[in-house]
């Protein structure tokens, strides 16, 4: 993946980053989170059906590694909105408490709007404070002085903050807000025939059911990597992964196979929803063409908020290129070959006609690289032409990874830290790189949040 060229005709990643050079940073992250290798006992019914179907079609399939404490996990599958059991080993249990113990201040609900340079050459980071329930309401505002700024607001937000800062910081590199990648993402929903699952795949839960377990599990648990072959041409490589999203997010774009009327709403959609427990969601992570471009930033925030928290409208445009569509078509056909074989299921991709392309893996909108024309950051994660500003989130990753990105994003951030420390030292900050890993906590801490009601601090659970 690190040798990908995309459509720029040269290596997208900085030449100093290879799998070998990144491996020590991957190791650190795996230890810190901690990520553990999954065995077949950890694979959920949904992952198991997918793996068995892959095997039946002559493919391989693997349990996926995850940062989940399986002793605590109840397989409730609610993890999209945090984990009330602290089984999901998120940053709340490692990096964040370690940072607090080293003196970091966490300011919940502070939304950075823009960065400015102060008269003496340092930075002023301007923020607003949003209401804890209604994020559309601003309850306070302020600025923080800084010698170094690390922007890590995620690939959908970092370029927006930087674009808005142009007025005071000066022009941004061309690649800020361009080359956005959705990690080549696409979803397919298979509606399984329970009898065929039993007869063809020989699967039985032991309670009379073959599958009917869409609801049970913990997100992705099995994947097939047969098409992650470096010798295949670019835009034809992808991984397939069993995945789960709860109803709503996980149902709205799914289409009824063979529908005569509308496929994503209406009578036929309701019929497939009645069989929801027999659904199996398959995730494609392929190589897209970095075709996303951000328009001008909204006046505040990362996007114009419609709902208090859930819905907002941003200025990102993403028209999938022929290369991207080529990869999707190959992967769709592959999924059908695996899951429609011998009548196991009927499969349909999610529609792209309702909200356009979609992704839960935004990447590359402020990417690293060696070429100043097509990258916003140099190979140390420093923003070109703006020394002292570093970007360490998914926006720094140059392109689609064909696998889940969190591990790579974290490894790149770990790799950036010595560079950030050096820049801070050069500005007279008394700081050293110790290379300690955060100790693991079992229980997440409470976070102080200021409510809008008269500024009285209230404490809310931080998940």
């Amino acid at each position: 993946m690190f040798d990908r060229q995309g459509s720029i005709g040269r290596r997208m990643w900085p030449k100093s980053i290879t799998r070998e050079s990144l491996d020590p940073w991957y190791d650190r992250v795996a230890e810190a989170l901690p990520i553990t290798r999954g065995g077949w006992d950890d694979v959920t019914y949904a992952g198991g059906v997918f793996a068995a179907a892959c095997h039946h079609a002559g493919r391989t399939a693997n349990p996926v590694a995850a940062a989940i404490d399986t002793d605590l996990c109840t397989n409730c599958n609610w993890m999209m909105s945090g984990c009330r059991f602290d089984a999901k080993r998120s940053l709340l249990l490692n990096y964040l408490p370690a940072a607090v113990d080293h003196g970091a201040q966490i300011r919940p609900l502070h939304e950075v709007q823009r960065i400015e340079r102060s008269a003496d050459g340092d930075f002023l980071v301007h923020y607003t404070v949003v209401d804890p329930v209604d994020y559309r309401v601003r309850v306070d505002a302020g600025a923080i002085e800084a010698k170094i700024v690390v922007v890590a607001a995620g690939a959908a937000a970092t370029p927006v903050i930087l674009q808005r800062s142009e007025q005071t910081l000066g022009a941004m590199p061309y690649a800020v807000g361009r080359y956005f990648s959705g990690n080549g993402e696409r979803l397919n929903t298979a509606i399984l025939d329970e009898d065929r699952v039993r007869d063809v795949l020989g699967l039985d839960r032991g309670d009379g059911l073959a599958y009917a377990a869409n609801q049970i599990g913990r997100g992705p648990s099995a994947a097939s990597w047969d098409r992650l072959d470096g010798s295949l041409p670019e835009f034809s490589r992808y991984s397939l992964e069993q995945l789960y999203f709860p109803p709503g997010f996980g149902t709205i774009l799914a289409q009824a196979p063979g529908a005569e009327g509308p496929s994503w709403f209406g009578v036929e959609k309701k019929e497939i929803l009645r069989r929801w427990q027999s659904w199996l969601t398959i995730f494609i992570m392929s190589e897209d063409d970095n075709e996303g471009v951000f328009g001008p930033p909204p006046s505040t925030g990362n996007a114009d908020r419609i709902s208090m928290q859930m819905l907002s409208r941003g200025n990102l445009r993403y028209e999938p290129s022929a290369n991207t569509k080529h990869g999707w078509a190959l992967a769709d056909a592959d999924i059908r070959d695996i899951l429609e074989r011998d009548g196991l299921s009927r499969v349909m991709p999610w529609t792209n006609e309702v909200i356009g392309a979609y992704t839960v893996h935004p990447l590359a909108s402020c990417r690293m690289g060696d070429d100043p024309r097509t990258s916003a950051l140099d190979e140390t994660n420093e923003l070109r032409d703006h020394p002292g500003i570093f970007v360490t989130d998914g926006s720094a990753v140059p392109g689609a990874l064909t696998v889940n990105p969190a591990f790579t994003i974290a490894a790149i951030a770990e790799r950036a830290v010595p560079n950030i420390v050096r820049a801070a030292q050069a500005r007279g900050v008394d700081v050293r790189y110790l290379g300690w890993l955060p100790p693991a906590a079992r229980v997440s801490r409470e976070a102080p949040v200021t409510s809008s009601a008269g500024g009285v601090p209230v404490t809310v659970r931080s998940v």
Partner: protein
């Protein structure tokens, strides 16, 4: 039809008819005009679509009256284009037969329609009313026999309101591993 604060009876009926086009359901009674009765079991309306549209969290409440008017405007235009003679006793969108409601919804929700975003948002709220019961806590919705969650076979939580599935795995190897799996269990 229920009473909803801030909306006229005609507006509620119109929004219900739209929600019923997205996830159709059975009529609530012999005089139900908003629900077309195109499918068995409760649909989006019985699942609380208008409650969800009106929820302050959702952010649509303030524009529902104009969305209802917009739907009726489009229905008037549709009826004129297709030579229909709608019943003046009900709002124009409600007057459409189910098949015509679907045809019009397909136009409004189609790529390229200038108002697609608006109608997609309203459709999302209709779907979510049925398949998540998002205007209620899921535990309460399950306990109240929420039509959508029940029809989907959504499994209830334990008595303490928490979902636990102690049996979750076939517990055996089901495929050959990829030959180039790294010791950490990742692809190479």
């Amino acid at each position: 039809m229920d009473d909803f604060e801030g909306l006229s009876a005609d507006q509620v009926m119109t929004l219900e008819a739209y929600a019923d086009t997205i996830i159709p359901g059975e009529r609530r009674g012999p005089t139900d005009r908003a629900v077309a009765g195109a499918a068995d079991g409760g649909g989006a309306v019985a699942s609380g679509a208008v409650e969800l549209m009106l929820s302050p969290e959702g952010g649509l409440a303030g524009v529902l009256d104009s969305l209802a008017e917009g739907l009726n405007e489009h229905a008037r235009d549709y009826a004129a284009r297709t030579g229909l003679d709608p019943d003046p006793a009900v709002p124009p969108f409600v007057a459409l037969e189910f098949a015509d409601r679907v045809a019009l919804a397909q136009e409004l929700l189609g790529p390229g329609h200038p108002e697609q975003d608006l109608w997609v948002a309203l459709a999302m709220f209709s779907t979510m009313a049925w398949d998540t019961g998002a205007h209620m806590h899921t535990v309460d919705a399950m306990a109240a026999g929420h039509p959508g969650l029940t029809a989907m076979g959504f499994m209830p939580p334990d008595p303490d309101g928490v979902w636990r599935f102690p049996r979750f795995s076939y517990g055996r190897a089901l495929a050959a591993l990829h030959p180039r799996t790294t010791p950490r269990g990742d692809p190479q």
